[in-house]
Amino acid sequence: EPEVTQTPSHQVTQMGQEVILRCVPISNHLYFYWYRQILGQKVEFLVSFYNNEISEKSEIFDDQFSVERPDGSNFTLKIRSTKLEDSAMYFCASRVTENYGYTFGSGTRLTVV
Protein backbone atom coordinates (compact mmCIF):
# COMPACT_ATOMS: atom_id res chain seq x y z
CA GLU A 1 0.00 0.00 0.00
CA PRO A 2 1.38 3.46 -0.90
CA GLU A 3 2.80 5.47 1.97
CA VAL A 4 3.66 9.02 2.84
CA THR A 5 7.30 9.02 3.91
CA GLN A 6 8.75 11.53 6.37
CA THR A 7 12.39 12.10 7.25
CA PRO A 8 13.99 12.31 9.70
CA SER A 9 11.92 10.44 12.26
CA HIS A 10 13.48 12.45 15.06
CA GLN A 11 15.44 15.70 14.95
CA VAL A 12 17.07 17.56 17.80
CA THR A 13 18.06 21.14 17.14
CA GLN A 14 19.25 24.13 19.10
CA MET A 15 17.00 27.09 19.59
CA GLY A 16 17.46 29.63 16.81
CA GLN A 17 18.61 27.07 14.26
CA GLU A 18 16.85 26.38 10.98
CA VAL A 19 15.31 22.96 10.37
CA ILE A 20 13.87 21.37 7.28
CA LEU A 21 11.41 18.53 7.63
CA ARG A 22 11.00 16.39 4.56
CA CYS A 23 8.05 14.50 3.18
CA VAL A 24 7.47 12.38 0.11
CA PRO A 25 3.72 12.23 -0.54
CA ILE A 26 2.02 9.47 -2.45
CA SER A 27 2.87 9.95 -6.11
CA ASN A 28 -0.59 10.58 -7.56
CA HIS A 29 -1.78 12.78 -4.70
CA LEU A 30 -2.42 16.42 -5.44
CA TYR A 31 -3.07 18.01 -2.05
CA PHE A 32 -0.48 18.26 0.67
CA TYR A 33 -0.62 19.29 4.28
CA TRP A 34 1.42 19.81 7.40
CA TYR A 35 -0.02 19.29 10.85
CA ARG A 36 1.65 19.33 14.22
CA GLN A 37 0.95 17.81 17.58
CA ILE A 38 2.52 19.17 20.73
CA LEU A 39 2.96 16.35 23.22
CA GLY A 40 -0.31 15.55 24.95
CA GLN A 41 -2.33 17.97 22.88
CA LYS A 42 -4.56 17.79 19.86
CA VAL A 43 -3.38 17.67 16.28
CA GLU A 44 -3.35 21.14 14.73
CA PHE A 45 -3.45 22.24 11.11
CA LEU A 46 -0.50 24.26 9.86
CA VAL A 47 -0.77 24.62 6.10
CA SER A 48 -2.28 23.17 2.95
CA PHE A 49 -0.59 23.19 -0.44
CA TYR A 50 -2.02 22.65 -3.89
CA ASN A 51 -0.86 23.42 -7.40
CA ASN A 52 2.50 24.62 -6.14
CA GLU A 53 1.16 27.21 -3.79
CA ILE A 54 -0.20 27.56 -0.29
CA SER A 55 -3.98 27.16 -0.22
CA GLU A 56 -4.55 27.93 3.41
CA LYS A 57 -2.49 28.46 6.53
CA SER A 58 -3.27 28.69 10.20
CA GLU A 59 -2.30 31.36 12.70
CA ILE A 60 0.52 29.09 13.84
CA PHE A 61 2.10 29.24 10.39
CA ASP A 62 3.82 32.60 10.77
CA ASP A 63 6.78 34.09 8.91
CA GLN A 64 9.13 31.60 10.52
CA PHE A 65 7.52 28.78 8.58
CA SER A 66 7.64 28.05 4.88
CA VAL A 67 6.81 25.15 2.60
CA GLU A 68 7.86 24.18 -0.84
CA ARG A 69 7.76 21.34 -3.32
CA PRO A 70 11.12 21.80 -4.97
CA ASP A 71 11.25 18.86 -7.32
CA GLY A 72 7.74 17.52 -7.82
CA SER A 73 8.13 14.74 -5.30
CA ASN A 74 9.45 16.14 -2.01
CA PHE A 75 7.34 18.44 0.14
CA THR A 76 9.29 20.31 2.79
CA LEU A 77 8.50 22.35 5.86
CA LYS A 78 11.15 24.82 6.95
CA ILE A 79 11.31 26.55 10.29
CA ARG A 80 13.77 29.40 10.02
CA SER A 81 14.62 30.10 13.64
CA THR A 82 13.30 27.44 15.95
CA LYS A 83 11.85 28.20 19.36
CA LEU A 84 11.39 25.89 22.31
CA GLU A 85 7.65 25.89 21.70
CA ASP A 86 8.19 24.45 18.21
CA SER A 87 8.99 21.12 19.85
CA ALA A 88 6.27 18.80 18.58
CA MET A 89 5.45 15.94 16.29
CA TYR A 90 5.06 17.18 12.73
CA PHE A 91 2.89 15.20 10.36
CA CYS A 92 2.82 15.44 6.61
CA ALA A 93 -0.34 14.28 4.86
CA SER A 94 -1.60 14.05 1.32
CA ARG A 95 -4.73 13.10 -0.52
CA VAL A 96 -5.57 12.41 -4.11
CA THR A 97 -8.75 14.48 -4.33
CA GLU A 98 -11.00 16.38 -2.00
CA ASN A 99 -13.30 13.40 -1.69
CA TYR A 100 -10.80 11.20 0.03
CA GLY A 101 -9.37 11.08 3.49
CA TYR A 102 -5.83 11.98 4.26
CA THR A 103 -2.92 9.60 4.33
CA PHE A 104 -0.55 10.66 7.07
CA GLY A 105 3.15 10.06 7.26
CA SER A 106 4.67 8.54 10.38
CA GLY A 107 5.75 11.95 11.63
CA THR A 108 8.93 13.77 12.56
CA ARG A 109 9.54 14.39 16.22
CA LEU A 110 11.22 17.78 16.54
CA THR A 111 12.93 18.60 19.79
CA VAL A 112 14.24 22.12 20.25
CA VAL A 113 16.77 22.51 23.08
Binding site: V43, F45, S55, M89, G101, Y102
Partner: protein
Amino acid sequence: AQTVTQSQPEMSVQEAETVTLSCTYDTSENNYYLFWYKQPPSRQMILVIRQEAYKQQNATENRFSVNFQKAAKSFSLKISDSQLGDTAMYFCAFIPHTGANSKLTFGKGITLSVRP
Protein backbone atom coordinates in the same frame (compact mmCIF):
# COMPACT_ATOMS: atom_id res chain seq x y z
CA ALA B 1 -16.02 27.11 12.21
CA GLN B 2 -16.13 23.45 13.06
CA THR B 3 -15.49 21.93 16.46
CA VAL B 4 -14.98 18.33 17.46
CA THR B 5 -15.47 17.27 21.05
CA GLN B 6 -14.22 14.13 22.70
CA SER B 7 -15.25 14.49 26.30
CA GLN B 8 -13.79 11.26 27.67
CA PRO B 9 -10.02 11.64 28.18
CA GLU B 10 -9.44 7.95 28.72
CA MET B 11 -11.12 4.57 28.81
CA SER B 12 -10.17 1.05 29.68
CA VAL B 13 -11.59 -2.23 28.41
CA GLN B 14 -10.93 -5.90 29.02
CA GLU B 15 -9.47 -7.85 26.14
CA ALA B 16 -12.18 -9.44 23.92
CA GLU B 17 -14.86 -7.08 25.17
CA THR B 18 -16.56 -4.23 23.33
CA VAL B 19 -15.92 -0.55 23.93
CA THR B 20 -17.51 2.60 22.52
CA LEU B 21 -15.67 5.89 22.13
CA SER B 22 -17.79 9.03 21.92
CA CYS B 23 -17.43 12.04 19.65
CA THR B 24 -19.67 15.00 18.94
CA TYR B 25 -19.13 17.79 16.48
CA ASP B 26 -20.60 21.08 15.50
CA THR B 27 -20.88 22.43 11.98
CA SER B 28 -23.19 24.34 9.71
CA GLU B 29 -22.09 22.26 6.75
CA ASN B 30 -24.44 19.69 5.26
CA ASN B 31 -21.88 17.60 3.43
CA TYR B 32 -18.79 16.45 5.23
CA TYR B 33 -16.69 13.49 6.23
CA LEU B 34 -15.92 12.10 9.64
CA PHE B 35 -12.96 9.96 10.58
CA TRP B 36 -11.50 8.04 13.44
CA TYR B 37 -7.72 7.93 13.59
CA LYS B 38 -5.65 5.69 15.81
CA GLN B 39 -2.34 6.87 17.25
CA PRO B 40 -0.35 4.07 18.90
CA PRO B 41 2.71 4.78 21.07
CA SER B 42 4.77 5.14 17.89
CA ARG B 43 2.65 8.30 17.33
CA GLN B 44 1.85 7.43 13.73
CA MET B 45 -1.65 8.51 12.63
CA ILE B 46 -3.55 5.55 11.23
CA LEU B 47 -6.97 5.87 9.62
CA VAL B 48 -9.41 3.50 11.29
CA ILE B 49 -12.70 4.31 9.64
CA ARG B 50 -14.38 6.93 7.49
CA GLN B 51 -18.01 8.06 7.26
CA GLU B 52 -19.57 10.24 4.60
CA ALA B 53 -22.33 12.44 6.00
CA TYR B 54 -24.68 11.89 3.09
CA LYS B 55 -24.66 8.14 3.66
CA GLN B 56 -27.17 6.93 6.22
CA GLN B 57 -25.55 3.54 6.56
CA ASN B 58 -22.99 3.34 9.32
CA ALA B 59 -19.47 2.49 8.19
CA THR B 60 -17.90 -0.79 9.25
CA GLU B 61 -14.32 -2.02 9.01
CA ASN B 62 -13.87 -5.48 10.48
CA ARG B 63 -14.04 -5.07 14.28
CA PHE B 64 -14.60 -1.31 14.01
CA SER B 65 -17.96 0.28 13.39
CA VAL B 66 -19.52 3.68 13.90
CA ASN B 67 -22.82 4.96 15.12
CA PHE B 68 -23.40 8.08 13.06
CA GLN B 69 -26.31 10.25 14.18
CA LYS B 70 -26.36 13.24 11.85
CA ALA B 71 -29.19 15.11 13.53
CA ALA B 72 -27.52 14.77 16.91
CA LYS B 73 -24.07 15.45 15.40
CA SER B 74 -22.71 12.38 17.07
CA PHE B 75 -20.13 9.96 15.72
CA SER B 76 -19.12 7.18 18.08
CA LEU B 77 -16.67 4.37 17.42
CA LYS B 78 -17.38 0.83 18.56
CA ILE B 79 -14.51 -1.60 18.86
CA SER B 80 -15.62 -5.22 19.15
CA ASP B 81 -13.49 -8.07 20.45
CA SER B 82 -10.87 -5.64 21.75
CA GLN B 83 -7.27 -6.67 21.28
CA LEU B 84 -4.13 -5.59 23.10
CA GLY B 85 -2.96 -3.94 19.90
CA ASP B 86 -5.94 -1.61 20.05
CA THR B 87 -4.28 0.23 22.94
CA ALA B 88 -3.70 3.71 21.55
CA MET B 89 -4.95 7.25 21.43
CA TYR B 90 -8.03 7.65 19.22
CA PHE B 91 -8.90 10.90 17.50
CA CYS B 92 -12.20 11.85 15.96
CA ALA B 93 -11.84 14.25 13.02
CA PHE B 94 -14.08 16.25 10.73
CA ILE B 95 -13.60 17.69 7.28
CA PRO B 96 -16.16 19.64 5.26
CA HIS B 97 -16.81 18.63 1.69
CA THR B 98 -16.34 22.14 0.37
CA GLY B 99 -13.21 21.99 -1.65
CA ALA B 100 -9.62 20.94 -1.80
CA ASN B 101 -8.51 23.39 0.84
CA SER B 102 -10.60 21.75 3.50
CA LYS B 103 -8.60 20.96 6.57
CA LEU B 104 -9.15 18.31 9.18
CA THR B 105 -10.35 19.42 12.58
CA PHE B 106 -9.42 17.00 15.33
CA GLY B 107 -10.84 16.35 18.75
CA LYS B 108 -8.54 16.21 21.75
CA GLY B 109 -8.39 12.43 21.59
CA ILE B 110 -9.10 9.62 23.99
CA THR B 111 -6.57 7.21 25.43
CA LEU B 112 -7.81 3.63 25.22
CA SER B 113 -6.15 0.92 27.26
CA VAL B 114 -6.95 -2.73 26.60
CA ARG B 115 -6.32 -4.90 29.66
CA PRO B 116 -5.17 -8.51 29.26
